[in-house]
């Protein structure tokens, strides 16, 4: 029972951390943040691996392996797609080819673009 209370404490503290860490986010980051959080819960892969490694019989093994496949998709795909999103947010750092001929006409101080 003491173990359960400690897990409950961990749960409560995690709720506070989750709430506080995301206090204020600009709307521009809503999608990447959602996507990154989504990738993080892909860590269920750890659970899937453990369960698959202990599974017995076709049903358990089959279901557990499906869980491994799905969790891997969630985790790996999630981090990759988040990275792609965020990459698009800083074109001024990375001088992309798409900038084309207009690039010279850009007016403002480049540093101000970092605020985005």
């Amino acid at each position: 029972m003491t173990g359960d209370i400690e897990l409950l404490t961990i749960f409560v503290l995690s709720v506070f951390v989750g709430f506080e860490v995301i206090s204020k986010v600009s709307p521009i980051l809503h999608t990447p943040l959602m996507s990154g959080a989504n990738a993080i819960h892909g860590v269920i892969l750890v659970g899937a691996i453990v369960v698959a490694g202990q599974a017995e019989g076709a049903l358990q093994i089959g279901l557990a392996l499906i869980a491994v496949v799905l969790a891997t998709i969630n985790m790996v795909g999630g981090f990759v797609v988040t990275d792609r999103m965020l990459e698009m947010f800083r074109p001024s750092d990375r001088r992309r080819a798409g900038g084309s001929a207009d690039e010279q006409t850009q007016l403002p101080t480049p540093t101000s673009r970092d605020d985005r």
Binding site: L33, V43, I44, G47, Q54, L63, L65, A67, A71, F79
Partner: protein
């Protein structure tokens, strides 16, 4: 979990800490990318430790399954066009929920008879919410991918059906605790799958991103519950973290669209059905359409022009052309600003990304509030492939699915010009009275073509 060796547990704690710092990083532009990479590092650490430390049967099969997952996930994430990213995230979220449900289910098959009641209830929670997240996410995917209508799907008595299915799910779930029946848990899973569909169907397309975020929080909680079942502190921390952060994020996203979460989820049940108000019904009203030369004169002799980009700009990939037009106008002394709505396009920040790619100066971007307060001093509002985000019925028509969404008040400018291909409605599927306004000029055609013609016409003046 078997590998309760101290170093293994410490590694899991490090991974959990990575996730916390990752979320914190993701919430500020400067650190977002590093944050994501840190999260990935934590995940890799955790998975590696799990593979190495646990005493696993079927290791080759597990590795093969992971390889399949990577082979599916990475190309999907690499190839998806930017406009498809939100639905891909929905998809990833759904499969994650399914995985968490499956993990809890297998653990129940293995040791369900001996577990304490609390663990069984956590199992049921994980299975139900994981299944809701799975099918709910599939429906949001279908809506965003326009595989089905983006408008709320409501059928007579729908709310009773939904309530009934939800009640059955809970009832069956509670019955698992005394009976420990595997068949019952399977029935619970099916009921959960059905609940997920019914839960998301009535949500209007414009609200779908908010629902994805909510389902994301659900999956987080599912993972936490599975973590409790498996006695894994890492899963509890990571899942709860995502559950809590996802809840906050959902509220922030809903607030950015001027909606409450309750009105998004249940709004379609309570407001008047809008099934009959599509564009076709009103398309007999007169519309003023103009040629590129007419619009070019309007623009070239204006003192202040606001460009309001929307989804059509992304479709036409017209971001460079729109900047060219702006430059040409500015060279003539016209003040040009961009009015960027937070949910223009198909994902938050969509327009910012496009305009940044075209290297539009940050100082020329106005957020909604700023744009609206400058609108009365604006001569021309040039709406490039946007529709819903300038639809005045969001302000007035209580029955409209977008009622209450804050919009850019293009109708407050002296003249309005729409660049779009037809009179068809936008994402929310509703008519836009501004298209028929006497001060509105329609310039039909693909946005990129129209903009190129406008550039030529202004230069020729």
């Amino acid at each position: 979990m078997s590998g309760s060796d101290t170093w293994v547990q410490l590694a899991y704690l490090v991974a959990a800490t990575c996730f916390i710092v990752a979320l914190k990083g993701l919430s500020a532009p400067r650190t977002a990318r590093t944050g994501n990479l840190l999260g990935a590092a934590g995940a890799v650490l955790a998975v590696t430790v799990a593979l190495v430390s646990e005493d696993l049967d079927h290791l080759p099969l597990i590795i093969a399954a992971m390889a399949i997952g990577v082979a599916v996930g990475v190309p999907a994430a690499r190839r998806v066009p930017m406009t498809g990213m939100p639905q891909l995230v929905a998809m990833f979220n759904g499969v994650g929920g399914g995985a968490a449900a499956a993990v809890a289910f297998v653990e129940f098959l293995r040791s369900g008879d001996d577990d304490p009641v609390a663990v069984v209830l956590a199992t049921v929670f994980s299975v139900v919410v994981g299944c809701v997240s799975l099918t709910g996410s599939l429906v949001t995917f279908a809506k965003l991918q326009e595989l089905m209508t983006t408008r709320p799907v409501v059928f007579p008595g729908g709310r009773f059906v939904s309530a009934g299915v939800a009640a059955v799910t809970v009832g069956l779930g509670l019955a698992v605790a005394p009976t420990r029946s595997e068949g019952l848990l399977a029935a619970v899973a099916v009921a959960g799958l059905a609940s997920g569909v019914l839960f998301v169907l009535p949500v209007g397309g414009a609200d779908v991103p908010v629902v994805i975020s909510l389902l994301n929080a659900f999956t987080g909680l599912t993972v936490a519950a599975s973590g409790y079942v498996l006695d894994s502190t890492l899963l509890i921390v990571a899942g709860t973290l995502v559950g809590a952060a996802g809840t906050v994020l959902t509220r922030l996203m809903a607030a950015a669209m001027g909606r409450s979460i309750a009105s998004i989820l249940f709004g379609a049940f309570t407001t008047v059905s809008t099934a009959g108000t599509t564009g076709s019904a009103t398309s007999t009203r007169p519309v003023r359409s103009g040629g590129p030369e007419d619009v070019a004169i309007l623009l070239a002799y204006a003192r202040r022009v606001v460009i309001i980009p929307g989804y059509g700009l992304a479709v036409a990939q017209a971001q460079h052309t729109v900047k060219e037009l702006a430059d040409v106008l500015m060279a003539r002394g016209v003040r040009v600003m961009y009015g960027v709505h937070a949910v223009a396009g198909r994902m938050p920040g969509h327009m910012n990304v496009l305009l940044a790619e075209a290297r539009v100066p940050y100082s020329q971007l106005e957020e909604m509030d700023q744009a609206n307060s400058d609108m009365p001093a604006t001569d021309v509002a040039l709406v490039v492939g946007a529709n819903d985000v300038v639809n005045p019925s969001a302000r007035t028509e209580t029955g409209s699915p977008i009622f209450g969404m804050p919009i850019i008040d293009a109708d407050a400018a002296r003249n309005v010009v729409f660049l779009k291909r037809s009179m068809r409605p936008g994402f929310a599927g509703i008519d836009n009275p501004l298209l028929y306004d006497p001060k509105t000029t329609m310039l039909f055609g693909d946005a990129k073509d129209s903009l190129a013609k406008l550039v030529a016409a202004v230069k020729a003046l």
